[in-house]
């Protein structure tokens, strides 16, 4: 692991590598200069933030609505199905549902709203990354939901809510003003982790994204493909930026956890 990080830093500065000509900044300058690093960072962080926000809100909402929902056998089966669904399948399914020739378009066709696949507004491989966001949200939701359900039980929020009700709060006041802040505070590390895993997602943006801009993993993969050795260091410059962000989030995560313990 450490080797990967060090190697990517060295490679990006031209210290190592097949065609290395000694330490240089030119790969960084070219990667920053053509705007690739900036656009990739903005895209990845934007998508990841949005997905983390939506899946956390949905998970917490569901937990607040039905705190013990997870204990029913049907619910557990359903969550395991979603959890067990590989990300590639999420991407595939979203593609088959939302693409021009997908299920939604077919359903709209049958009620006469869409005439042909071209008339369907682009939702995959699109400029707003709608498809990526849907697929990523679906794939990160179950684990976040599971975590917050566990947290509800571990923190014994049932008892806290009942206590709040005893001293005069309504049912929802208890949930929103006692349970919600506790869930958010104790769940911070999980939210950071979820952000991080969305940031590095690969399969979903690979299948549902556009040629440019691309997310970190996809861009690193494409740049490091051995077609153009001269541009390979740029892949490692991007990887270094990515590692830097991961490092910051990981440190925040661990600090939060230590703080909570």
């Amino acid at each position: 692991m450490v080797w990967s990080v060090v190697y990517s830093i060295c490679y990006s500065f031209g210290i190592l590598g097949f065609l290395s000509e000694g330490p240089t900044l030119k790969h960084w300058i070219s990667a920053i200069g053509n705007g690739e690093i900036a656009s990739t960072t903005i895209l990845s962080v934007g998508i990841s933030l949005q997905v983390t926000l939506v899946s956390t809100a949905a998970a917490i909402g569901l937990v607040l609505l039905a705190p013990r929902g997870i204990e029913s056998r049907t619910m557990m089966t359903m969550v395991s199905v979603l959890l067990g669904m590989p990300v590639a399948i999420h991407a595939f399914v979203v593609y088959q549902i939302f693409s021009g020739g997908g299920l939604v378009s077919r359903a709209l066709h049958s009620v006469g709203l869409v005439g042909s696949p071209d008339e369907m507004p682009a939702m995959v491989n699109d400029g707003w990354s709608i498809g990526i966001c849907i697929a990523l949200t679906a794939s990160s939701f179950p684990i976040v939901y599971l975590y917050f359900s566990q947290l509800w039980a571990t923190l014994r929020l049932d008892k806290h809510c009942r206590l709040a009700e005893c001293i005069g709060a309504t049912r929802w006041q208890g949930k929103l003003r006692v349970a919600l802040p506790m869930l958010l505070r104790k769940g911070r590390p999980m939210i950071a982790m979820s952000f991080l895993s969305n940031l590095g997602s690969f399969e979903i943006p690979l299948l549902l994204g556009r040629q440019s801009p691309q997310m970190f993993s996809v861009l690193t993969y494409r740049r490091s493909g051995l077609y153009d050795l001269a541009r390979r260091p740029e892949a490692f410059a991007i990887a270094t930026v990515y590692f830097g962000m991961c490092l910051i989030v990981l440190i925040v995560y661990l600090r939060w956890r230590e703080h909570d313990e």
Binding site: Y7, Q96, R106, S217, A239
Partner: protein
């Protein structure tokens, strides 16, 4: 009121499960021309092809299974020991390194590891893929077991020592009863990690190491919708069962000792 809540919760999950229904319906037919909602013909063709052909998919399945077993056994064993020492040396940097596999994209790491494996002569071979998968799975299990060791296990251990127990009996009587569920979870999760891995195997395997994920991707690229749906279901089955098992093992127990 409570019934209404339950209804909405179930409704939300059913909507999320609809895709599975679509996968199943696609996998039992052939063709899917535009305005039709169901496949053109319901003839079970993808499944018949799957059970008839003995070469491609079966090899991929065997490879995936073997790699999962190897990765999960080795990483769980070593993670158990490493998690113990990680708790004793609780420096921040060591922890950051241990947590890397949780957050950092295997794709990016795999790209960086590729050159190392070229030098070691294992790139494009099964050994190389196994090494990389092991690094990640080892990280998972180390962190998982790191949570296991706490003051309670320490006290149990010292109790066994005070009662005159040997090193072996510490593991047998103090740690095993406490850890066996977690060991099972770790075995399952690391096996699933290897089973579902696409990033590492496609970068480091270089196309020479067959796996069920690679088969799925080639179907998706070719645009064979029905075959892709069918191999997707095959790929999904073990994880779904695995997660169901590990979820019931890690079910919230109301004794307040599960810290997460």
């Amino acid at each position: 009121m409570n019934r209404l809540h339950r209804f909405f919760a179930l409704l939300a999950l059913w909507t999320l499960l609809a895709p599975v229904g679509m996968l199943v319906s696609l996998s039992i037919g052939s063709g899917w021309s535009y305005p039709r909602l169901l496949p053109d013909r319901i003839d079970l063709l993808p499944w018949r092809v799957f059970f008839a052909s003995r070469d491609g998919i079966v090899t991929a399945l065997l490879h995936s299974t073997m790699m999962s077993l190897l990765v999960s056994a080795s990483s769980t064993l070593l993670g158990l020991v490493a998690g113990r020492s990680l708790r004793k040396h609780a420096s921040l940097w060591l922890r950051v390194i241990a947590y890397i596999p949780f957050g950092v994209s295997p794709m990016v790491i795999g790209t960086c590891l590729y050159d190392l494996e070229v030098h070691l002569g294992v790139a494009g071979r099964m050994m190389g893929v196994l090494m990389a998968q092991f690094i990640f799975a080892f990280g998972f299990s180390t962190v998982l077991f790191c949570e296991l060791w706490n003051t309670r296990t320490d006290r149990l251990e010292s109790l066994v020592i005070e009662l005159g127990g040997s090193r072996w009996s510490i593991w047998r009587h103090a740690i095993w009863p406490y850890a066996h569920r977690l060991i099972l979870v770790s075995l399952l999760q690391t096996a699933l990690y290897s089973w579902l891995d696409y990033g590492l195997i496609s970068v480091l395997g270089g196309g020479n190491v067959p796996s069920i994920t690679l088969t799925l991707y080639s179907y998706i690229r070719e645009g064979s919708v029905n075959q892709a749906a069918q191999s997707g279901l095959v790929l999904m089955l073990p994880p779904v069962v695995g997660f169901a098992v590990s979820m019931s093992l890690l079910r919230p127990r109301h004794d307040g000792e599960k810290t997460n």
